[in-house]
């Protein structure tokens, strides 16, 4: 047993190496001063990052990706939070069917979704454009937002909402004063998830993007087809920083937020002090 456990441990280390070594090599090579950006490394330099900064196409791709990701996150999270509230807080006929419908965009292969949306909106007179990209990104990030937000919402107790309602708050007032602050970590998590999925997407984006507009992933893809320029590794590193650091910061912020909420003594909260105080302002 002891030796087979060691084998499992060794296997785990190897699998983790397999998952992370290639990415680590990208980061390592992005600091390579060699002209070809490959092994052997000659020295450490930031020249490829400077080259990125001077490359107008890449800067523009970053702007496009950031704007697209932010808009996707806002729209997708709004739709997703409302739908999740309905799914977690209410019972209604046809709920299982609705649950399947809400995650349908992940069940359909992204290529098929991309083709269907492109051709249908094309027939409706919407050309390949930024709005088409945005519609596409919203529809396929939506299920992920709903899954994440639902998972978090389940653990948010509804006593506070009921207390607020019984004290005379309307549903909308209750939502903004009680529910939203309570589920804020879930909302942020959903938004960040939508942002990173949108920021990373290439499969649908290549179908929907108009000529001349590139997002960061399609820009990398285009650069890959020409030649393996060392700039790509630097671009990869920047992208890893954006997509990894952001969620980590988000998670840290959510944890702090959660701690602050939980920090309030339990018996006071149960007495309804929290909701009472917010209501008294009116």
């Amino acid at each position: 047993m002891f030796t087979s456990w060691n084998l499992i441990r060794l296997g785990t280390v190897l699998i983790y190496l397999f998952m992370f070594a290639p990415v680590a090599v990208v980061v390592l090579l992005s600091f390579n001063s060699s002209q070809f950006g490959s092994f052997p490394m000659e020295g450490v330099s930031l020249r490829w990052f400077e080259a990125l900064w001077d490359n107008q196409a890449i800067v523009r791709a970053f702007q496009t990706s950031l704007l697209l990701g932010a808009l996707t996150a806002v729209i997708s999270t709004t739709l997703g939070v409302l739908a999740s509230l309905a799914m977690v807080r209410y019972d209604f006929p046809g709920k299982t069917l609705i649950a399947t419908a809400l995650i349908a965009p992940i069940l359909v292969p992204e290529v098929v979704l991309a083709v269907a949306l492109l051709l249908f909106l094309g027939a409706m007179g919407v050309p390949k454009s930024f709005p088409l990209l945005l519609a596409g990104h919203v529809i396929f990030t939506l299920p992920f937002v709903i899954l994440v937000v639902q998972a978090r919402l389940v653990s948010v107790r509804r006593d506070y909402e009921e207390a607020a309602m019984s004290l005379g708050a309307g549903p909308i007032e209750t939502f903004f004063q009680i529910t939203l602050p309570l589920i804020l970590p879930a909302v942020l998590a959903g938004g960040l998830f939508a942002f990173t999925i949108s920021f990373d997407d290439i499969t649908g984006t290549l179908f929907w993007k108009p000529g001349g507009v590139e997002t960061v992933p399609t820009q990398i893809f285009a650069m890959l087809r020409n030649s393996i320029s060392p700039e790509i590794n630097a671009l990869g590193t920047v992208m890893i920083i954006v997509t990894v650091a952001l969620p980590l910061l988000g998670a840290a912020a959510a944890r702090r937020l959660g701690r602050k909420q939980r920090g309030c003594p339990a018996h006071k909260r149960h007495a309804g002090t929290g909701s009472d105080r917010t209501l008294r302002r009116h």
């Binding site: 998952m19 290639p22 090599v25 739908a83 359909v108 290529v111 083709v115 992208m239």
Partner: protein, 291 residues
Amino acid sequence: MASLDPMDNAWRPWRLLAPALSAIFLLLVVPVAFIVVYSFWLRTATGADIAGFHLDNWIEVLTDPFYRDIMGFTIWIAFATTVVCAVAGYVPAYFIATTQFKHKAFLLLLLMLPFWISYIIRTMSWINILGSSGIVNAALIWIGLTDEPIQMLYNQWTVIVGLVHFLLPFMILNIYVSLYGIDRNLVDAARSLGCTGWQAFREVTLPLSLPGLAAGSLLCFVLGAGTYITPLVLGGPTDAMFANLVFDAIITQLNWPLGSALSLVLLILLGCVVAVYNRFAGMGQIAKSFG
């Protein structure tokens, strides 16, 4: 929730659902219905569409051996990827689920990390590893095993490596979720009844983790079979998968009716896989891994 008007209460969930459901209806359901209709149209050489009910696209897609071979190749790649992911993914999932290691949470966090790292970056990172000026060739030349770089990239095996690299976290996470839910007492009971460690694993742990294994396999197969970027980046000129055909028909040849038929074939194939899975396991298992 407390509300004075019972009718109002019954409508509230639908009002909350309305924006999301209408988005899904308008941007998914109607478009898919649209390409079903469109696949029966014809595109003439001049680029005009002939509306109507023509079976030509479907006959071409279903009978031409060219499409059939690529479909076979796609299924092979997705299947091989899934098997490799299942075998390779079980080990770390089992380790994380059973270890007393104090940095377990850190291992789990690392597992989530690839979800946040761009797919295109992870795919192209293999060029740095296996390419002619990559780390493996540099090492081989340095040791003196070879003078010229060995061509390792751009074949079906590197496509599988790239896909496994992309999909492994999905598999590990799903297996971990089901392993985590197993009552440890069951394994102890099996051991006390005389099972060896391996027997206890085979008779108790493995069967109980099958739901996670199945959910992970479904995700790997469906996502693997629908990809067209990995074969473009890591495959050779003959390693086109089915989604590459769709992309060519739609974007390069601009034959939209044919592209519609091709993407529906992919949808039906993967839909059957999902339906079989749903029949035996249910979709709930996949949602669990988001918890």
